[in-house]
């Protein structure tokens, strides 16, 4: 399609427009990641001038570090609980809002509000609402007779549920919005045929809506899971990983070791393990969900 010779000819123009991005990524993304791999082999604390090569012993220590392995369990618990609830509620909500009347349009604006808000603002708001002594919500929860002990974020058994609740409040809507877009593009004929054949509403949902919506559900699930893995703000601002280590997620644990305790070498080893796990999950997902949806002709 191009015949001109010189620097903008098809051969070179390829590199011209992509070069800035890839140079940038090489310097600020790839180089730090490689440096992190390197640092994982050293015993090094920031501020301390000596860097001692320790081979794989940081990694050996990592797998024996119950706080680290525990943080993986906490992260998994959080992701499964939060995303599971969000998907269930998000789907119900999408079916509820799937109408083109003005109250529904207004309601959709209300619904998408939480997803826009600064996560730290959301965290502090809920922290205040659930404050054991002065929280408005704590007052109502106790008023209806629910036992929350000394407070949601004080009780070991409730703290993680509290963090999940906040995530559900903020991100259920994201799934709803994605699913609503999916519902909008669904054909009507299968429903007509099903109702003519005397199918119940539940059967139509189970055997038409769910299968047709499956690719959209999958994308919503993936987008939300990858973001849920990054959970940090609410843990940092509300519980500080506690009580004990009840809400210490992997992100937060590595942050604590590397940025607060400045054990850079060890934290790098933890990072590298976490990176390997995340990239593994990410690759699996991208190959199976994103790229396949591109191949099927999904333009966007």
């Amino acid at each position: 399609m191009l015949s001109r010779k010189g620097i903008f000819s098809s051969k070179y123009s390829l590199y011209w427009l992509m070069a800035p991005l890839f140079i940038y990524l090489a310097v600020f993304y790839l180089y730090p990641l490689i440096y992190s791999v390197y640092m994982g082999f050293f015993e090094w604390n920031m501020g301390d001038p000596t860097m001692t090569f320790v081979g794989l012993s940081n990694y050996v220590a990592a797998f024996r570090d119950s706080q680290f392995t525990g943080s993986f369990i906490n992260t998994a618990t959080f992701v499964v609980a939060a995303v599971g609830i969000e998907l269930t509620l998000g789907l119900a909500l999408a079916l509820l809002l799937n109408r083109e009347t003005w109250p529904m349009r207004l309601l959709r604006t209300v619904v998408l509000l939480p997803t826009l808000l600064t996560p730290l603002v959301v965290a502090l708001t809920w922290k205040a609402l659930l404050n054991p002594d002065f929280g408005a919500l704590t007052y109502y929860i106790r008023a209806v007779g629910l036992d929350i002990g000394r407070g949601v974020f004080v009780e070991r058994s409730l703290a993680m549920a509290g963090i999940v609740l906040i995530d559900v409040w903020q991100w259920t809507s994201l799934i709803t919005i994605i699913l609503l877009a999916g519902l909008k593009g669904m054909p009507i004929e299968p429903y007509e045929a099903a109702y003519v054949d005397g199918a119940s509403r539940w059967q139509a949902f189970r055997f038409i809506t769910i299968p047709l919506l499956r690719p959209t559900i999958l994308i919503a699930l993936v987008v939300r899971s990858l973001d849920a893995l990054k959970i940090f703000d609410s843990v940092f601002a509300i519980t500080g990983g506690g009580p004990g280590t009840a809400t210490t997620t992997t992100n937060f644990h590595i942050f604590k070791v590397g940025i607060q305790h400045l054990r850079v070498g060890y934290a790098s080893a933890l990072s590298n393990i976490f990176l390997a796990v995340s990239v593994g999950i990410g690759l699996l997902i991208i190959r199976n969900v994103f790229l396949s949806s591109r191949r099927k002709g999904g333009a966007v």
Binding site: S10, L96, L113, E192, N251, G258, I259, S278, A299
Partner: protein
């Protein structure tokens, strides 16, 4: 789809009816709006009303909290820092991401899928993993504690998002217009700049909007890379939470200031926001 079949379509998929639907929707609105209403109302409360039990929802509003926040607290500096970082990130992300996306969308070459995969993978990258070595890098080139440090790390995620969004956008645009321009002897770069870019404006708005929101809402990177002189709004807000003596009044008024631009987006730019949320998921 015609509006007639659209209406029928929706009748087919609805769940619940009448009263039960109304109750569910009412509960939903209460659940979603209570925290927001509490936040905004508390920022207009006097200290004595904040800790009232049972909670007070009707009270005499006061502007003193906002007055204090503007007079005594460096809210202007926090806000300026947040704006500098958000707009800096957005400009850089678009400058880097959009031209690359154009080439990835329009040209065929070896290794293209690998490039797209590696850019997508950035979405799966835990922020803390890049943060540690990035901090050392900033230290060694003297950018630690500056706006630039946060802009440079935010841009990793936002440029990646821009690429993904814009590749889809450019691919969906008919190629014929660009080809017609090239018949007249237009260079590749000129075609991109004068033909493709203006056509892609709605996509660019979405990309910019997401970049602004993401960096405005960022906390972890700002927490780890800024100094007091470059601290952003979320950091300023966090520093006022612990002041129980003033009962969350300053915290909530700063939060209210922080979310005003986001509420405006929900009201006026909703179309672009929803487009960004649903891209990739649905055609």
């Amino acid at each position: 789809m015609t509006s007639g079949s659209y209406a029928r379509h929706h009748r087919m998929l609805k769940i619940g009816s009448g009263v039960s639907r109304g109750v569910v929707i009412a509960l939903l609105v209460v659940f979603l709006l209570t925290p927001l209403v509490w936040l905004v109302t508390t920022s207009f409360k006097q200290r004595v009303d904040v800790f009232a039990m049972p909670p007070k929802w009707v009270f005499t509003p006061t502007m003193t909290n906002f007055q204090y926040v503007f007079d005594k607290k460096p809210i202007v500096r926090f806000t300026t820092n947040s704006l500098v970082i958000s707009f800096g990130t957005t400009i850089l992300s678009l400058l880097l991401g959009v031209p690359a996306a154009y080439t990835l969308a329009r040209r065929r070459f070896r290794g293209k899928n690998l490039l797209i995969t590696s850019i997508l993978l950035i979405r799966a990258l835990p922020p803390v993993v890049i943060l540690l070595p990035f901090r050392l890098l900033m230290n060694s080139i003297g950018l630690m504690g500056t706006h630039a440090a946060v802009i440079l790390i935010d841009t990793i995620y936002n440029a990646a998002f821009t690429v993904w969004l814009m590749v889809g956008y450019f691919e969906a645009m008919p190629i014929e217009i660009e080809e017609a321009a090239c018949v007249d002897g237009c260079s590749y770069f000129k075609t991109f700049r004068t033909i493709a870019l203006p056509l892609a404006k709605p996509g660019l708005v979405t990309a910019a909007l997401f970049s602004l929101i993401l960096s405005w809402n960022d906390f972890l990177f700002a927490l780890s890379l800024t100094s007091p002189s470059s601290a952003t709004l979320p950091l300023g807000i966090l520093s006022t939470y612990g002041m129980l003596s003033v009962g969350w009044t300053y915290m909530t008024s700063m939060c209210t200031i922080a979310i005003v631009p986001l509420l405006l987006i929900a009201l006026f730019l909703q179309k672009y926001y929803v487009q960004g949320l649903t891209f990739g998921g649905v055609k």
